[in-house]
């Protein structure tokens, strides 16, 4: 068993209304010193077996196909340690 994590973020040039709203709330709540906030999605994927390079490559394909829309989003894939 291994866990692979896919993080999906809007591309930097795409407006992120949610992130903007969080930034606004930070200001109102007095959390200072924050320059910007971007909100993304995190997928935790439990594999049946080990996180072999082949298995991770498969998840990368799934991420590019389904989890992220490459028109507006970037994604990163990493294997979570110690699971």
């Amino acid at each position: 068993m291994a866990r692979v994590v896919v993080d999906v973020m809007l591309k930097p040039e795409i407006l992120d209304p949610q992130g903007k709203a969080v930034l606004g709330a930070f200001g109102r709540l007095g959390f200072d010193g924050v320059a910007s906030v971007r909100q993304g999605k995190r997928f935790e994927i439990e594999l049946d077996g080990e996180a072999t390079p082949e298995a991770v490559a498969e998840i990368e394909r799934a991420a590019a196909t389904l989890l992220a829309n490459p028109v507006i989003e970037d994604f990163t894939v990493h294997v979570e340690a110690g699971v």
């Binding site: 809007l10 040039e13 795409i14 407006l15 209304p17 949610q18 709203a21 389904l66 989890l67 829309n69 028109v71 507006i72």
Partner: protein
């Protein structure tokens, strides 16, 4: 003329789209998301709604429904395809149309009677309008902000592929006030507003949306 209306789990405006086809004088054919063929229809409408709950990204899962493989193939072959709201999102996810739809800039769902300008009348679905004609049809969405990179936006403008633009306040933060676009061939059109809710004055703000459905039917008769 037979126009297919696809029902995905979570489609909501499928009955309305079928009614609009009938009001325009066509025959509406129900297509199921699991269908492996298009039953010989002459055009397809992908209706509004929240296909599969739209929990991942709007349209992201519907794009992989069996019926969509057929729709994509047929669209590349010239079949008229109209994507309304969620259907527009599905067409973008399927790469039949460029760009993507993101959360409204004000982060709220918005439902209102929306003034629009018809920018292109050289598509299968807008040929019955006059260029520059202003129409009012309902808009209702939470993720209707149209985005694409600058190069693509310039290309769309240059090729006359911006089909509809919002008039007055931009309701959702769409780049360049874009409400609808078409592919290069003009047979595939996607738009966020709902022409199927403006085909009877009793139940809509008017009948300005009927032209989408009569355009395609007349085009089919001519060909």
């Amino acid at each position: 003329m037979r126009i297919g209306v696809v029902t995905f789990p979570g489609s909501l405006d499928d009955r309305d789209a079928a009614r609009a086809v009938r009001v325009a004088g066509g025959e509406a054919v129900s297509l199921w998301h699991g269908d492996a063929d298009l039953h010989g229809v002459d055009g397809v409408v992908l209706p509004g709604g929240f296909s599969y709950g739209d929990y991942l990204r709007c349209g992201a899962i519907a794009r992989f429904a069996p019926v969509m493989e057929r729709v994509v193939d047929a669209a590349r072959g010239g079949l008229p395809v109209l994507g309304i709201c969620n259907g527009f999102q599905i067409l973008c996810e399927s790469h039949l149309l460029p760009g993507a739809l993101i959360r409204n800039d004000h982060r709220k769902f918005v439902c209102r009677d929306q003034p629009l300008r018809v920018e292109s009348v050289s598509t299968a679905w807008t040929s019955g309008y006059a260029a520059g004609q202003e129409i009012v049809i309902p808009l209702k969405n939470g993720e209707g902000g149209y985005v694409a990179d600058e190069r693509m936006l310039d290309e769309l403008e240059a090729e006359g592929r911006v089909v509809l633009r919002y008039v007055g306040d931009n309701p959702n933060g769409s780049y360049r006030d874009i409400a609808g676009v078409t592919n290069a061939r003009g047979n595939v059109v996607g738009l966020m507003p709902h022409p199927e809710h403006a085909v009877e004055s009793l139940t809509g703000p008017g009948t300005d949306g009927l032209g989408f459905f009569t355009s395609v039917l007349e085009g089919l008769v001519r060909s």
